[in-house]
Amino acid sequence: MTIEAGVIVFPGSNCDRDCVRALKGMEGYRVREIWHRETELGGLDLVVLPGGFSYGDYLRPGAIARFSPIVREVTRFAERGGYVLGICNGFQILLEAGLLPGALIRNAGLRFICEPVPLECTNTNTPFTKKVPRNLTLPIAHGQGRYFIDETGRSKLEAEGRIVLRYAGGTNPNGSTNRIAGIVNEKGNVLGMMPHPERACEILIGSSEDGRSFFESLLQAA
């Protein structure tokens, strides 16, 4: 079983190559880059929307990228049940595109935070998280990562088990609603997360290797 993965490249993406490298380093993945002007995804199993500052974060993070031609295709792909992973700015784009509920706004402490954080995986029953350990460490790197959702939306997410990652160890680095760091859609095939799994795939760079578990999960699910 091989997963055909595509990493979308927007003007201003800066984690696209990290994602490609991380996936190339995994057994069972073939990966290619897809420029945002393209209008077809081809026969992919997984689409990754990488981190960065698409369109310079103008207007709001992800607000302009969501109108890129390829995002229409990503929406159709998600509706057909394809796996979509939005990381950091990719998560922001998924929210702006309406593929996931809520919004990501300026960190409560106003500062850009770039550091490894403790996380808790609160639902291992999704295609992305079957092999993710309950306690893990991944880096975050964002200035606008405070997840906000109203009370109705939050209780719906909770009731449906769609909050898959929370900031743990008594931390909430950006002030997110209920420490939410990652959520899935109703069908479970779209995951948006602020932490960067692709930056935690090689011990050589001083990170954990916890990021690999997300890609291992997908391999098992596919």
Binding site: L59, E96, P101, A103, I105, A108, L110, F148
Partner: protein
């Protein structure tokens, strides 16, 4: 013809930037402030005859994230 679209965070969304400005203003001795909320505004030149309704559609679709923001449109006749 010009319109101005003013965008603010909804009242229930906390605004740390506004809070920091409030604190700074008080530190400077401006003790008459009780709250500060930061927003942004778009000055938009439009063709003659453009209706405010069209700007509402534009705001909903692009300028504003209705999950966290509200907006107000006013005509700028200066």
């Amino acid at each position: 013809m010009r319109y101005v679209v003013e965008v603010h965070l909804k009242p229930e969304v906390s605004d740390p930037e506004g809070a920091a400005i409030l604190q700074a203003a008080r530190a400077l001795g401006f003790d008459f402030l009780s709250d500060v909320r930061v927003g942004k505004s778009f000055e938009i030149e439009v063709k003659e005859g453009t209706e405010e309704k069209e700007l509402e559609v534009l705001s909903d679709k692009l300028l504003v994230n209705p999950v966290v923001e509200t907006f107000r449109i006013r005509r700028d006749d200066d």
